[in-house]
Structure formats: structure tokens, C-alpha cells
Amino acid sequence: MEVYRFCFPSNLKYLDRVYDITSKILQDMPIDLMAKRRILTAVSEAVTNSLVHGNKENSDKTVRLTFQQNDGYLQIDVDDQGKGFAPQITSLIESAKKLEERGRGIPIMKAYVDEVRFKYMKRKGMKVSLRKNLA
């Protein structure tokens, strides 16, 4: 099994690094280009949330991004050191109608990967897990 893990301080500049490295990791996986872009997008949403909402951009706090490729699926975990949260259901139709500038991150994750799970890890922080089935 392949595992890729990056830990980085909570600074928005890492969004570009995460993008570059995620692209590289996905590069050779048996997934078509469009699916790769969707995964990249879902990862960017989860990492943005961990940096901003979870760790409040406190550069002493770390975000940990882990890719595990198994036979049947790719699992991506994003761990922060924040207080966690209870995800609400938001409607993209409502957000569009109201011209909301925010609130589309989690719905985009859900649209772009096969499974999104949220788990609060006691005394550690939030874990968001994205799972993409492989053909």
C-alpha cells in the first residue's frame, strides 16, 4: 500500500503546494483527468477549511494530509488541530439564489468524491475523510 503524508503549518500559501503535490500523487493513478481535477478540488476544499475554520490560520497548528491508495479506493484524510464542528446541510440551489459568497466547500466535496466523512478526534482535532473508488 502506498501512503503519502504531508504536514504543514496553517498558512494559506500552502494551498498551492498542496495542489502541486496532490497533482503529482494523482498523476499515475488509474483515474481519468476529469476525476483527478474533481479530487484536487475536493482536497482543496477540505484543506482550506482545516486551515481557516479548524486551525484559524494559526501557524503553530498543523494540517496533515494523507493519501492511501488501496486496491479498491483512494482515501484522503485531512486532519486539523481545531475544535471540530457538526456539518450542516446546505443547499447549493439556495446559495446560488441568495448569491452567497460562501458555504459551497462541503457540498463540492460531496459532489466530487464518492464518500465524505467527518470525525472529531478527541484532543486532536477534526478529521475529514474523502474516498474515491477506483475502477
Binding site: 494559506l12 500559501k13 494551498l15 498551492d16 495542489y19 476529469m34 481535477r37 484536487l40 478540488t41 482543496s44 476544499e45 482550506t48 486551515l51 481557516v52 447549493l92 440551489i93 446559495s95 446560488a96 448569491l99 452567497e100 459568497e101 460562501r102 458555504g103 459551497r104 466547500g105 457540498p107 463540492i108 459532489a111 466530487y112
Partner: protein, 121 residues
Amino acid sequence: MEIVRNTLGDTAVLHLNGRLNLNSSAEAKNRIKELLDKRSRKIILNLTRVDFINSSGLGVLISVLKDIRLANSRLAITNLSPYVHEIFEITQLVNVFDIYDNEEAALDGFLLKSGDMGRLR
């Protein structure tokens, strides 16, 4: 995110270049608003060179749209790659933005929908 301003007749055309994520969004929003002075009544955002956009980038575009509407100006978005188009679809923003294949089609769109047609009535 690099943003270049051109003019097509009386239309301001902004070419966005790069990734529109939360790391670039504040700067992109300021730049776009800066480049759109009061006199821009018709505005095209050409996204042909946007390699990546997520919810943070969509937030920027919505903020710009709201400003443009408040100023009674008009916005068209053009040249969406299949990937960028998909995220507009999934987020239902295809129903919010006027989206065209290219700048020419957007200019036609402005004509068709705008007061310019009114004069013909």
C-alpha cells in the same frame, strides 16, 4: 493570479490567469474591482487561463457580480474549460452568471439583452 485588462469597444475585458483559490482570492477580488472603474458598463471575465477554481474562487466571482449589478452594469463570463464549467453547473451558478463560449458571443449577448435593443423598439 494574473489579471490583464483589455477593451473591446465599450466593453471591459478581464483575462484571469492562474489558480483561483483562497490564497489568491483576496488579491484577485481587489484587482478585478480596481480594474473596473465606474465607466465600465459591460464587463467580460475571460476564464480561459484559469487552471483551477474552487468555492473560494466562486465566492470572488459572486462578490464581483454583486458589485457590478449594484452599479447597474452587466457581467458576462466566457471561455470556461469543461472542468470550470462543471463546477458552475454543480453549484447551480450557471443560472446566476451569463456564461458564453467566447468574447464574441458575450458581446452578442449584451446586444441582445440590453437597452441597445430597446432603442430599436
